[in-house]
């Protein structure tokens, strides 16, 4: 193949492929799912109650004349569907990874976009713990950004996990939050047909766009969706 004539990939595709490789090596199965999702899988199943602020109009795109439908605000809906199915099929323990487009109804600037890419993963088994979560994510970021990447796991809160954590990466002189994570909340396991007395698991989700920022120093995440080939530099 003549390399010079080959087209150039979008940077986020490159990152998604690299990320899929890393997670596949660790035994994760790739999951895909709908972008227009039911409120059940996007919110309720994930322990985000009806009156949770995340359901506010300013964050979520609701659909006109389609009650109970939203543009997914994370790809956790996909991994949630996947572990539900795996549970039904008796495929436990299990591990899934899903990278895809997600949507947030918010004003845009150089670090915020209405659409962006999220990497979402989960692993469920008898004794999957935060130590495993840390192992998987440390390996992932080292593979993506090099062995000298500096990471911290800090306390946080998301309705679908307990304990809840955040992953922070050192970027120049600053720390950048790149992922939310934690142990799946027993309510989530129950909602997905699993028995929290028998299994536990971790889940994580974070923007791929931010990895691109850290990895390559891309200054504005809005560049990703302009259809501008000047971005395809790698």
């Amino acid at each position: 193949m003549d390399n010079n004539r080959k087209g150039k990939e979008h940077p986020l595709s490159i990152l998604a492929e690299e990320a899929y490789k890393v997670f596949s090596d660790m035994g994760f199965e790739i999951a895909t799912g709908p972008e227009l999702e039911s409120e059940w899988y996007n919110f309720d199943a994930l322990n985000v109650s009806k009156d949770h602020p995340a359901r506010d109009m300013q964050d979520t795109f609701f659909i006109k004349n389609q009650k109970e439908k939203v543009l997914r605000t994370h790809t956790t809906n996909v991994t949630a569907r996947a572990i539900e199915k795996a549970g039904k099929e008796g495929r436990l323990p299990c591990a899934f990874i899903s990278i895809g487009k997600v949507f947030r109804n918010e004003a845009t600037d150089s670090t915020h976009e209405m659409q962006f890419f999220q990497t979402d993963g989960t692993m469920v088994g008898e004794d999957i713990s935060i130590a495993d979560l840390k192992g998987v994510l440390t390996h992932f970021y080292k593979k993506m950004l090099g062995d000298d990447v500096q990471m911290e796991f800090r306390p946080s809160f998301f309705p679908f996990v307990e304990p809840g954590l955040e992953v922070w990466l050192r970027f120049g002189n600053k720390w950048l939050e790149v992922m939310g994570a934690g142990m799946l909340h027993p309510n989530v396991l129950k909602n997905l047909g699993l028995d929290p007395r028998k299994v536990q698991g971790f889940a994580f989700g974070g923007g791929l766009d931010r990895v691109a920022i850290v990895k390559w120093g891309i200054s504005d995440i809005r560049f990703f969706y302009q259809g501008d080939l000047r971005l395809n530099q790698f």
């Binding site: 087209g7 596949s24 999957i128 990703f224």
Partner: protein, 600 residues
């Protein structure tokens, strides 16, 4: 929430130095958004997590947390406040809605409205609040100190000495303290007298009973309201206040007693005020809850061996009342800690207090056989095929001016989801054709693989094209139409990571226009294109962002013709034709110095 170092010091005199404090917050509690150094204080802006807003939107809460984290003394403020000697009261409180869980009221007479003591002004200003008057400041101090919002009404502006907590009548109107008229609905909770609405409960006070310089007698409100109700009203009215933010996160009604004691104590200090008895109506009594957990389960969740002793040590530092029998802990949950309900909550509590850095990462190995994901494989195959054929990949916005699926209340003017990829791809093609010299592509060929949204379904499409036009079809169709060999090509996730990516950095482009110039030269047969290129390079200066790129060459009559393209662009300004012409002339001269070379 803005937190003053000096204010914390009241409660925890052994508070560590500020540099250490930011790390403690970040690693054990929540994110520090900023640290602001003032002349004699330091202000931390903490991003309090939603599950701790019950108790941490307050200086006392943060101080208590730090005392537990660090094992240092917490000075209980309760004893600090003098208890007034109250006279009898005629105040009546009637709660007509279950959305009000507790209402404490106290009449204070003979008040003198004026300026606040220095320390009050200082405390408020340190966290960016303005001092208003001694009465209003006292209510604010109590809120930022304990987390409990309080309110003061001018008693003489009330219709009698009776307070009614009820739902508003549909269309009822109230003028807020800042002079804004709000129209209420039948789900909004209000504080009223027999005639008027005095305040929107937990959200905003009304103008009618505003405390001003002439106020002589006041009514102090310390209450607890249903979080969902307050949030709903605050959202509907578009009014967010420090009070509504606290109520909507759910406060413990038990906090009211302390807050009433604190505000009374503050007002006693002003001197000369006459206090009446507190009326306390408390229909939504908070029950005492217990929580059981084991060291074994906590260790299993964290993936860290946590000993019974370590847990006991934490429980003691945090003043949890607990029993430890038969390897089970049972704690009495402090009323303010509404976040602690299940065993996993204690795993978080123990985990974050110990610090998640104590947990050693390990890569799990599980008995699970991943299957191939068909959609993903198809996307990968389609992408590979198009890339191999020279198409470059773009991603465009899912939002359009028109379509079949409409989103509600978008932050953008584009309210519809795309029904095709072609429309955006055309725009992308146009943009990239203009930039073709910068892209160093002879022909722009692009593709996108993405979801489109039809009235009742979404599907993944593939669109690709060039100047001749754009083709679009579903992913399935695309894969069907392709040759069978391409489908057999295994895609991801296989192979090693791309090593070449590690060192690469993104190079931002210039926002100024570029200028393209071509130069073609006849040279003898023995002269290579590299020789010509070198002369151009040595003389083209720093404004060339692409090139010289050899885009054409041929032989004729024992001579070589080489054509190079140069793209000029500045990162600071728009270039002028003349200055580029000058550079080209200079290159031309240099080339002509070789008598056997000729510019075409």
């Amino acid at each position: 929430m803005k937190i003053s170092y000096n204010w914390l010091k009241w409660y925890i005199p052994e508070i560590p130095k500020t540099e250490k404090l930011a790390d403690i917050f970040n690693c054990h509690l929540c994110e520090v958004e900023s640290v602001e150094k003032k002349t004699d204080d330091i202000i931390f802006d903490l991003n309090i997590l939603p599950n701790r807003a019950h108790d941490l939107l307050s200086h006392q809460g943060i101080a208590r947390e730090l005392a537990g984290q660090l094992g240092i003394d917490f000075k209980d403020p309760t004893e600090m406040y003098k208890i007034p000697e109250p006279g009898s009261t005629n105040l009546k409180i009637e709660i007509k809605t279950d959305k009000c869980r507790r209402y404490m009221g106290r009449i204070v007479r003979n008040v003198k409205v004026g300026s606040s003591p220095d320390w009050v002004v200082k405390h408020l200003e340190s966290i960016g609040q303005r001092s208003i008057s001694n009465i209003v400041d006292a209510t604010n101090i109590v809120m930022y100190d304990s987390g409990q919002p309080c309110h003061a009404f001018d008693l003489d502006k009330l219709e009698g000495e009776k307070i009614i907590i009820r739902l508003a009548k549909e269309g009822e109107i109230m003028m807020t303290l800042d002079g804004k008229e709000v129209k209420l609905s039948s789900v909004d909770m209000v504080i009223a007298d027999e005639k008027n609405v005095l305040a929107v409960a937990g959200v905003k006070g009304g103008k009618i009973a505003e405390v001003n310089d002439n106020t002589k007698n006041i009514l102090i409100e310390v209450a607890n309201f249903d979080p969902v109700s307050v949030r709903g009203t605050s959202k509907r009215l578009g009014i967010i206040t420090d009070s509504s933010k606290r109520f909507e996160n759910d406060l413990s009604p038990e906090l009211c007693s302390y807050a009433m004691r604190e505000i009374s104590g503050l007002l006693v200090e002003y001197g000369g005020f006459k206090f009446e008895e507190v009326i306390d109506v408390y229909p939504g009594k908070q029950e005492i809850s217990k929580l059981s957990f084991s060291a074994g389960k906590i260790s299993k969740i964290l993936g860290l061996n946590v000993s019974v002793k370590e847990i006991e040590d934490i429980l003691k530092r945090y003043n949890f009342k607990y029993k430890n029998t038969a390897n089970k802990f049972e704690i009495t949950v402090p009323p303010m800690r509404l976040d602690l309900t299940i065993e996993e909550d204690m795993a978080e509590e123990i985990g974050r207090i110990l610090g998640y850095d104590k947990i050693k990462p390990k890569i799990p190995s599980i008995d699970f056989k991943p299957k191939e994901n068909e959609i993903y494989s198809k996307i990968g195959q389609a992408r590979n095929k198009l890339l191999n054929e020279g198409y470059s990949e773009v991603m465009t916005y899912a939002f359009r001016d028109e379509g079949e699926v409409e989103v509600m209340a978008s932050a953008s003017d584009k309210k519809f989801l795309r029904t095709n990829l072609t429309d955006r791809l055309k725009e992308s093609l146009k943009l990239n054709q203009l930039n073709a010299p910068l892209l160093e592509m002879d022909e722009i060929k692009i593709f996108e693989i993405g979801t489109v949204f039809k009235k009742d379904k979404e599907e993944i499409n593939v669109a690709y094209g060039d100047k001749k036009g754009i083709k679009e079809m579903s992913l399935d169709e695309f894969c069907k139409s392709a040759s069978p060999e391409f489908l057999q090509e295994k895609v991801l996730p296989l192979g090693d990571l791309r090593q070449d990516l590690i060192e690469q950095k993104f190079k931002m482009w210039s926002i100024y226009p570029f200028i393209v110039r071509d130069i073609a030269v006849w040279v003898p047969e023995n002269v290579s294109s590299k020789d010509v290129e070198k002369i151009i390079k040595d003389n083209m200066g720093e404004l060339v962002v692409r090139g010289p790129r050899l885009f054409d060459q041929f032989k004729k009559d024992g001579k070589n013709s080489y054509a190079f393209r140069l793209v000029f662009q500045s990162y600071e300004r728009t270039l002028k034709d003349e200055e580029v012409n000058e550079i080209m002339v200079k290159i031309g001269h240099k080339i002509s110095e070789n008598s056997s070379w000729q510019i075409r």
